[in-house]
């Protein structure tokens, strides 16, 4: 696979930026003006996790035309899988000093680990869960949805219903995932204490590397023959079907891949923020992820990363400086971007012709005109 200028710039920004941040945090003494405080490192780590989620959303929305309003569900499921491992790592250091049961289970009076917690004390098993749980859920959901040709806004609404239902389910104490409070008070990850600076730098660097790999994977997928068919499905599904392809299979593959990527993002997110609770499933989170992609530029991959970082930067700044303005700002962003920036920020800079997404919309529009004329 050949990398073009844009991809090289994206990777350079990501890896170089992360490395610089790590150096300025660890190698420069705390008193110096060039020193980067640790909280900045963990915030950047968080943004990079969001960027992984945005990448996953862009993969399905930008290239397969599936507007998902429930991707945060996969993100949160990955996070819960990691949270289970981190919870078990605490061991006897919890408040109730129970070597096997997490605190919240002792608190609600359970005396035995439920079967779905078996094996969660092994890091490798947790990694398998991080991939499998969102992947299997997405596969089953997609298999039903795409085979019965649910598409457009209906699909959007049921993805939202999916994450809403999961949120309600995880709020229940008897689910065995900590109910309302979720899981927190993590101590360490594979032996590295989470409150040490070097651990958070390491997690941030790992996130940057995994984001880069996910970017390369997504790029390879969308530029392959498979990706071409996917774009064809997005722009004219019936036509693609008439040409002999099976759109549902293509959608299912990319949908599952995207869910797995989102789950990995969530797994990286939890040790860095130190908590996972059911509010991560809130429909608003999923919709916010969509706006990151829209702001950066739908169907551009690097735009998704850019959008996630920029919007969250703005959110961090606004919610502390002017908390009342934040909802106005994000709401206005939704409207302005959809009305005036259909190609996002990336589209603004790469001024050469229309992107594939734009062309797709034009062809869809002309198709609609033709259909109307035919009636």
């Amino acid at each position: 696979m050949r990398l073009d200028g844009g991809a090289i710039a994206t990777l350079a920004c990501l890896l170089g930026g992360a490395a610089l941040l790590a150096i300025f945090n660890l190698a420069i003494a705390a008193g110096s003006a060039l020193h980067v405080p640790s909280f900045v490192v963990s915030i950047v780590g968080k943004y990079l996790c969001y960027a992984i989620l945005a990448l996953a959303v862009d993969l399905v929305w930008g290239y397969a035309g599936i507007l998902t309003l429930g991707h945060a569900a996969f993100f949160a499921l990955g996070g819960y899988a990691m949270g289970m491992y981190l919870m078990r790592e605490i061991g006897a250091r919890g408040v109730y000093a129970n070597p096997t049961l997490p605190d919240f289970m002792v608190f609600i009076g359970w005396n035995k680990l439920p079967w779905y917690w078996y094996g969660s004390e092994h890091f490798l098993f947790a990694l398998i869960l991080v991939v499998l749980v969102p992947g299997i859920l997405a596969f089953v959901f997609g298999w039903f949805a795409f085979r019965s040709r649910v598409s457009g806004v209906y699909l959007s609404i049921i993805t939202q219903a999916l994450t809403y239902a999961l949120m309600l389910a995880f709020f229940r104490n008897d689910m065995g995932f900590g109910g309302n409070n979720g899981m927190t008070d993590f101590k360490d990850i594979i032996g590295f204490p989470l409150d040490k600076e070097t651990t958070s730098v390491g997690l941030m660097l790992a996130t940057a590397v995994i984001l880069s790999l996910a970017y390369l994977l997504a790029r390879a997928t969308t530029r392959s023959r498979f990706g071409k068919v996917l774009i064809a499905v997005r722009d004219a599904e019936p036509r693609t079907r008439f040409l002999g392809y099976r759109p549902e299979s293509y959608k299912l593959v990319v949908w599952t891949l995207s869910a797995v990527i989102a789950g990995i993002g969530g797994a990286l997110y939890v040790p860095q923020v130190g908590i996972i609770n059911p509010s991560e499933f809130a429909p608003a989170n999923s919709i916010e992820a969509v706006i990151w992609v829209a702001v950066g530029g739908r169907g551009t991959l690097s735009g998704a990363i850019l959008g996630a970082v920029l919007v969250n930067l703005g959110k961090t700044w606004l919610t502390s400086a002017l908390p009342d303005v934040w909802l106005f700002a994000i709401g206005g962003l939704f409207i302005l971007v959809t009305l005036f920036l259909p190609r996002g920020l990336i589209g603004l800079f790469s001024g050469r012709g229309s992107t594939t997404a734009e062309r797709g919309r034009q062809s869809a529009a002309s198709e609609a005109v033709m259909r109307e004329a035919a009636e």
């Binding site: 959007s156 049921i158 309600l168 909802l327 529009a365 609609a368």
Partner: protein, 542 residues
Amino acid sequence: MTRKSGGGRFLWGAFAAALLLPLAAGLGAAHAAGDPFLPLAATNFDIEAQGVEALATSGNPRAAAVIGALRDGNLFAWKWPRPNPPLYIRTTKGFVDARTGMAVANPPVSVNLRRVIVNDSVRAAIETAEGALGLFAKATADRRKAAEALFQSANPGALPLIRRALKAETDAGVARVLREAEAAALLKSNSGSDRARIAAVKRLAERSDLSARNLLASLHNQKPAITAAIATAIHAIDYRLKLWGLLENVYYGISLGAVLLLAAAGLAITFGVMDVINMAHGEMVMIGAYTTFVVQQLIAASLPALNGFGLLFAVPAAFLVAGGIGVVVERTLIRFLYGRPLETLLATWGLSLILQQAVRSIFGATNQDVTSPAWMSGSLQLGGLVLTINRLWIILFAVLVLGALMATLRWGGLGRSIRAVMQNRSMAAVMGIRTPWIDALTFGLGSGIAGIAGVALSQIDNVSPNLGQNYIVDSFIVVVVGGVGNLWGTLFGAMLVGIVDKFVEPFEGAVLAKILVLAFLILFIQRRPQGLFPLKGRAAEA
């Protein structure tokens, strides 16, 4: 139970008790026999409490006045031991004799008096006693309440009182409750012939409510014939209770369905007819609720005489405010996004965030207090069903709104244009309909209906900036289940979702009910993406 029946046995001989009590209190005086007021002068709270009950059931004409005085702390007794101690009631005009109600010729010196004080058990006895005294009140409702209280207490000591009240009772409804109270008291008293007791069991079985069932279940050590009758009666009551419970669930389901219908009717217009995904629909509902609040405040400030009718003014106001906002939104936002449903969804989501924050900035994040007028509060008893009046109004209101909406679409000039544009936009334009203007009005109509829904919701839900969010997901479910662009389908969908929700709830809890409804929706869309009642013909293709 034992404590109660022990007290009951004591009260069974109420007059005998009055005879014995002074002895127990050490006040013994032979000529005090039969004086029902004497226990009130005792310094022992238990004797005092029993005395209150005995006095109430004695039928003494002064009972009400004396018990009332005791409650208000206006009853005074002679402070020093003496036979047949006098009791006085302090009034604004001085002391009167408690027994006769006559003014006292030479007023007692306060140093010789002590206020008769009460504790919790006496206070409880006063409450029961005042209930029993209500049996002879003028208003039927009061008598009914008193009879009901007597039934609940199932006090054998009250039997003579109940029988006397029965003789005097003219209202059939109150008489029925009295007979039930009589049956309950009789069963508790362990007296009466077998035939009378079986008849009493049957009477309770006819009453068929939970308290009758509990009372029957509490009777032990009965004769075999009576035990058998009780078992049959409990069985019959359980069956009827289950039936009423079923009906009650249907009622709750319909009432939830009516709420959903109100919230979804507007959505059926914007989503169903215009194919616009309006995520800000919930916020239109919220704005309607806030309009209600503002209208109530304005009326309270300027026309207090109309306070009870604020809602009547709020309905058109909410329609105009929400509808006006809808028209503005359509002209400035939606019209650029026709044919791009996914973009519409994102933009209106942004709009919903802005509207929420705007309301939060203006009114604050706390809940606003919207009052319910008197004619909307209370409840209606229908057999074993308790129907709350405000829910009934909302059901009625939902039906009216749906009817008005259907009539507008069917016969109204605007409705005709809306249908024409929906069926064939270009042909409608050729016929001279200004389609952009119709689009704006259609969106305004849908939003206005949402505003009206807000007026109703302000009566049963918290008026907060998040009000709309609680209904938006449910509303979409309703519209999708019912089939897009079909108001009958919306009605059916709302009732279906409402009733299913309420039927699952008692078994699985509210949260699981919601999850099941959502799971049902996910499966449903996959089976029937066009809803239960899809549009047929050419419109279905578009």
